[in-house]
Symmetry: C2
Subunit: 111 residues, 2 copies
Amino acid sequence: MIYSSELIKGTLKTIVLKLLSDNNRMYGYEITQKVKELTGDKIQITEGALYPTLHALESDGLLTVETEFIGKRVRKYYSLSISGKQKSQEKISELADFMNTMKYLLDIKTA
Amino acid sequence: MIYSSELIKGTLKTIVLKLLSDNNRMYGYEITQKVKELTGDKIQITEGALYPTLHALESDGLLTVETEFIGKRVRKYYSLSISGKQKSQEKISELADFMNTMKYLLDIKTA
DNA sequence: ATCAATGCATAACATTCTTATGTATATTTG
DNA sequence: CAAATATACATAAGAATGTTATGCATTGAT
């Protein structure tokens, strides 16, 4: 089972920031695989969404990038900048809080 | 504190279906107020998002509507149709599951 | 050799909100 | 009682954020 795609909306940036806050550096493809692995294939990040997101986070100054070559193939490692670490914590707590609120909303009897 | 607006994306339909699955019928404005109340003002549904959503759910056959007049003011009560009840359960479990997955993803050390 | 996986990227399009605006009635408050 | 606030609907322009499709190139597996 894969979640309806609209659910991912709004959470992608935070997912990326969270992974980078736990790992010193990661590259795009690695992020897609890690998310697949951690969620048992329930969440699949598309490359069409991920790469523009990484570029946006970088241009916001939250990520720094190092380009490396593995053989002839390019690989771009992203890391959190200082402000990225800050932002990361904020976004993670906000999302975690939101998840709790939504779970509450979905579980209670609202009558 | 109000959540960043992008977080609501993709959850609105399910929120509406959930409220209607617990309440026989509700009208738009009532839904906005109920969500505010239940979430301690953390989630505020805007009318610009809600009314088109209600119309979409209705045109998908998930909701039925009854128009009533309170004095001279119109009020549109929405209820789940048979297929709406079905869909409602599906969407609610999917979202609850997604929330758990996301919480897990945000809480663990992914290193 | 061929196919799948790795690894990046972008563009057209779709979806789903926000913000702004509009209309009207009912209630509260100074 | 006038004015402000709350109730109650609606839609349109624009922003944000994703999907799908496509492209290119290297590397590993059968």
